[in-house]
Amino acid sequence: MYNRIVLALAGVLALAARIAAFQPPAGQNEFVPASSLPPGDQLPAAPLLIAAYAFVWIAVLVYVWSVWRRLKRVEDDMHALQQRMTGGRKESRR
């Protein structure tokens, strides 16, 4: 069975090479740095930029808050449970 697996994997590698040889049309290859903006380009982009960064910040904060809230709930449950258990044991000792 392992021989078959090795053969299959070799087949996959050969196919992968074939796939890799396929040349798609080119996209942009690298970012070209510039030290100043072409005129009239700034304002329309700014809201998008700000929205993007704001979303990242807010997402992180919301997630942290969500984890913290769930943690609180679990810890409250634990305390309640521990109370019940120690209270229960006291009663059964009577």
Binding site: F22, F31, Q42, A52, V64, R89
Partner: protein, 220 residues
């Protein structure tokens, strides 16, 4: 891990506070202008997402192989974080694309396949929550399959027609852009570590609570 928590939080907060300064000082990109600066948060989000995806897949595989619940806890935490950072990438991408390509969504290959990986891991979270008993194993299989799909995702960039900047962009970045970029990557990776620690803590407490419930049943 626990002792490093507070210093790590401070470092991450400081790095993120300083990041906008670095990013603002970076050069503009010649054709895309200001909006390209979304790149400094967009790409690190994907780095974190795919790191989380591979950790989730690896931990799931180990969980299925060894049965140790600690692996399952790591997988659950990583899966959730993957979805959060994937969402960040999927929102910042179209915001960038709106300016650079003119439309919000172009069915560009890479964003589309990233959406797919995101959907797979949302499915993972749904299975874990609503799958009923034994859903840890179902989720683990789902995570493994999702992670195995990632190479197909990556290959598709080179096969489909695409106007997405190619994968060769990052290695060829000029120094003025490379520094804020890798700084952002580091900041995001540290953030990821922080969030993993936090989330794992939650999983551990949940496991402890389950133990307590079982102990209570035994007592009664």
């Amino acid at each position: 891990m626990k002792k490093a928590f507070v210093p790590l939080t401070i470092v991450v907060a400081a790095m993120f506070a300083y990041a906008p300064v670095l990013i603002a000082r970076a050069d503009y990109e010649a054709t895309m202008g200001l909006v390209q600066k979304i790149f400094y948060f967009h790409v690190p989000s994907w780095f974190v997402m795919f790191t989380a995806v591979f950790i989730c897949g690896g931990a799931s595989a180990l969980y299925l192989a060894k049965g140790d619940p600690r692996f399952d806890r790591v997988a659950a935490s990583a899966g959730e974080i993957a979805v959060v950072f994937g969402l960040m990438g999927l929102v910042t991408g179209p915001l960038w694309g709106r300016k650079a390509w003119g439309v919000w969504w172009q069915w560009d290959a890479r964003l589309t396949m990233a959406l797919l990986v995101e959907l797979i891991f949302v499915g993972y979270l749904i299975v874990r929550k609503y799958g009923g008993p034994g859903s840890e194993k179902l989720g683990a299989a789902m995570a493994i399959f999702g992670t195995a799909n990632v190479p197909f995702v990556y290959v598709s960039v080179n096969i489909w027609r695409t106007i997405h900047p190619k994968t060769t962009v990052v290695p060829t970045l000029a120094a003025t852009m490379a520094i804020p970029f890798w700084y952002s990557v580091l900041a995001f990776m540290l953030l990821f570590t922080l969030l993993m620690t936090l989330r794992l803590g939650l999983e551990r407490q949940r496991a402890a609570l389950d133990e307590l419930y079982l102990a209570e049943d035994d007592d009664v």
